[in-house]
């Protein structure tokens, strides 16, 4: 059991962080088709926001709860800026968004390196996250529990928003056929901006969670971006349910692989696993088919 339970718990937390990172992408990539390679840097912005909030509210007990919504808004606004400045001209060329946002991510990384101390900044964990809870006889760090809860809350909020606000319908309609959506009376520009705001904002929230786990520095976004994309792809484009399962599966797989082999091999194996899975199910876990030829 010692070899089974701890990796499961750790992996679930790892998966939750991955899910937080992927959640925004499942909107901007899954729903809008934008391949935002700067998503990792939005996450970084969220983490730095947590640091800045902590400079104002010095008690970490308070500052982290405050930082969550603030990071959402800050990263969201940055996403909005990206949408208005660049992405809005590119909806008909989804693959090109990938390259454009690579440029954005380079710039954001370098800017962060120059603005903040190069070694990175400390983000203090709230004291109420010190310690462990006991699960099945194993002590589980509270911080991991927190990551999972945070992911759950974000997923629930996002699902509810998409389902009950009719906004989900409008996003999907806009992505599928912009012209038709416009002529059906949908203000597609508003839909685009709001979607991008929320998607990027979620990266900000993920950044706060990441700042409690690893370093907060200019390079932190890089390690999340590709796994997050893989998770969204493996889950099935635009399938929230699939994203959740995929994130959890990748997290747990990483953890078990790392337990059985080494940290490096775990990365390799997890990637190969997802690649092979996508080869077998090219459309991901959950698929939507249509008759259209393209």
């Amino acid at each position: 059991m010692d070899a089974l339970i701890p990796p499961l718990l750790n992996g679930s937390a790892q998966g939750a962080l991955l899910l937080l990172a992927a959640l925004g992408l499942s909107l901007t990539f899954g729903q809008m088709g934008v391949i935002n390679m700067a998503h990792g840097e939005f996450l970084m912005v969220g983490a730095f926001t947590a640091y800045l909030v902590q400079q104002v509210i010095t008690s970490s007990d308070l500052s982290i709860p405050v930082a969550l919504p603030v990071a959402f808004v800050v990263a969201g606004l940055l996403g909005l800026l990206l949408e208005v400045g660049i992405i809005q001209w590119m909806y008909r060329r989804p693959l090109d968004t990938l390259l454009v946002t690579v440029g954005v991510s380079l710039i954001l990384q370098q800017a962060a390196l120059q603005i903040f101390p190069s070694q990175g900044v400390p983000v203090e964990k709230p004291r109420w996250l010190d310690g462990q809870v006991n699960i099945l006889g194993y002590s589980w760090p509270l911080r991991q529990v927190f990551t999972i809860l945070l992911a759950a809350v974000c997923v629930a909020a996002l699902a509810a928003w998409l389902k009950y606000s009719s906004f989900g319908r409008r996003i999907r309609a806009t992505v599928q056929n912009r012209d038709l959506a416009e002529t059906a009376g949908i203000a597609t520009r508003t839909v685009d901006r709001l979607t991008f705001f929320v998607g990027s904002g979620l990266a900000g929230v993920a950044g706060v969670a990441a700042s409690l786990i690893g370093g907060t520095n200019s390079q932190m976004g890089v390690q999340y971006i590709i796994p997050a994309f893989l998770v969204v792809a493996a889950g099935g484009i635009g399938q929230l349910k699939g994203t959740i399962i995929a994130a959890w599966a990748v997290g747990v797989a990483l953890s078990y692989f790392a337990y059985w082999t080494t940290g490096s091999f775990a990365q390799v194996l997890a990637f190969i696993l997802v690649i092979v899975f996508l080869q077998l199910r090219p459309q991901g876990l959950f698929t939507v088919r249509t008759r259209s030829l393209v």
């Binding site: 010692d2 701890p6 990796p7 750790n10 992996g11 937390a13 790892q14 370098q110 390196l113 101390p117 190069s118 070694q119 990175g120 900044v121 400390p122 983000v123 203090e124 964990k125 310690g131 462990q132 002590s139 760090p141 509270l142 911080r143 991991q144 990441a210 409690l212 786990i213 690893g214 370093g215 907060t216 520095n217 200019s218 390079q219 932190m220 890089v222 390690q223 990483l254 953890s255 790392a258 337990y259 080494t262 940290g263 490096s264 775990a266 990365q267």
Partner: protein
């Protein structure tokens, strides 16, 4: 093209193009080679900056042999081939008399063949895994017998029986741990686990779970870069405490510690230099740094070693009376080059191009500064090939020395 072939008399081919260093004017060009972009910029920017400070100081005091330093800052971009290319450029295009910089052992290994081919000079300022001594490189950071072996001695003195090794997945931690394992066997310390994570990955939770399961007395940490933050946080989260299962690190210094907050408090680090060191020259070094533009507020071992490297070069050139590489190396051979460094008066070993250093163990306090808890009784002479240590296999040493030529 029909250049020289393997079997040919290679003497003509091996002679590098005559050096193009221009010593006629009242300035001398030096190259600084640090990663200012990419992942390692996190660490290397500060080293670059302290080199600038040292150059400014030397210039203010009249320069090297009366010539002002005109430095050319190059970006290694965290890319080892770029380190090689820029070395070549600095030596053949800019005609720099010497190059200073590098951080990771990988970057040094990329620079090494180039400076050897072109007969240039490279000053490397970071502690490393040893087992190297190039005639074209001066090593001002610690080799293993000045940092890692003292740290092991310290652990043995504390009665450590079970040790866990955690490192980043690259040449320095891998080699260092190979040496640690050899020495641990000698000391009777059991290695209860060994874990590596890629340099750019922060998540250590699974590995920490393995540490919990292995129940070691102490952790020997050779992780580099920001991955340390993830390690320390995961360690703390798992309920492992500094007073029961402490960590000793060789790459967490004053610069890195703040990013880990209070969670790193109480753990140890092995270095030659600490900001808290009480030497006659240290206060001035700290003050100058704090007054220097874009400073990071604290001083650390790699910074100090970089600072040393420029002064050491000055001393070498002035002893040689020339900027010529062969003459500089000849001057080194005399074993009389010293510098009053912030860590104390260091002496250059002209044979292996390393310097003598004091070893210190510091314990991280609440201000993220280090309280010195142990010091070597004297300066330790550098021994990169561990010739003074019988537990290091002689045949391996021979192979390495032979390969180095």
């Amino acid at each position: 093209g029909c250049g020289a072939r393997a079997g040919d008399d290679t003497s003509s081919a091996k002679t590098p193009a005559a050096s193009c260093v221009d010593t006629s004017g009242d300035t001398i060009k030096l190259g600084f080679l640090n990663s200012l972009t990419g992942g390692m910029a996190i660490s290397e920017k500060t080293v670059s900056n302290v080199l600038h400070m040292a150059a400014d100081e030397i210039n203010a005091a009249g320069g090297i042999m009366g010539k002002k330093i005109q430095y050319i800052q190059e970006d290694g971009a965290t890319d080892w081939p770029t380190f090689a290319e820029k070395t070549r450029k600095l030596l053949t295009q800019d005609c720099a008399a010497a190059i200073f910089g590098g951080w990771t052992s990988s970057s040094r290994k990329a620079v090494k063949p180039v400076v050897e081919e072109l007969n240039g000079l490279f000053f490397y300022p970071v502690q490393y895994e040893g087992l190297e001594a190039s005639p074209n490189i001066y090593y001002t950071g610690a080799t293993t017998n000045q940092q890692i072996i003292p740290a092991m001695d310290f652990l043995a003195s504390k009665g450590v029986k079970k040790l866990f090794l955690a490192g980043s997945d690259y040449v320095f931690p891998r080699t260092a741990n190979a040496i640690i394992k050899l020495y641990a066997a000698k000391l009777g310390i059991q290695i209860v686990g060994e874990e590596y994570v890629p340099l750019d990955k922060d998540d250590w939770t699974t590995q920490v779970a393995k540490i919990v399961a292995a129940k070691p007395d102490f952790i020997f940490n050779t992780i580099n870069g920001s991955s340390n933050v993830g390690f320390i946080k995961a360690y703390y989260d798992a309920g492992l405490k500094a007073d029961t299962t402490p960590i000793i690190s060789v790459s967490i210094a004053e610069e890195e510690a703040p990013a880990m907050g209070h969670e790193v408090t109480g753990h140890y680090a092995s270095w030659n230099y600490f900001q808290s060191l009480k030497t006659p020259t240290n206060p001035k070094f700290i003050e100058s740094w704090k007054a220097y533009p874009n400073n990071s507020g604290v001083t650390s071992d790699p910074m100090e070693a970089a600072y040393i490297s420029l002064y050491l070069y000055k001393a070498l050139v002035e002893a040689a009376g020339s900027f010529d590489v062969d003459k500089v190396n000849a001057a080194a051979k005399a074993n009389t080059i010293t510098f009053d460094a912030p860590e104390g008066k260091v002496t250059l070993n002209g044979n292996n191009h390393h310097i003598s250093k004091p070893a210190h163990i510091g314990r991280i306090n609440a201000q993220n500064q280090f309280d010195i808890v142990w010091a070597s009784d004297k300066f330790i002479e550098p021994d990169p090939y561990l010739e003074g240590y019988d537990w290091f296999p002689a045949d391996v040493r021979k192979q390495l020395v032979d390969a180095a030529g």
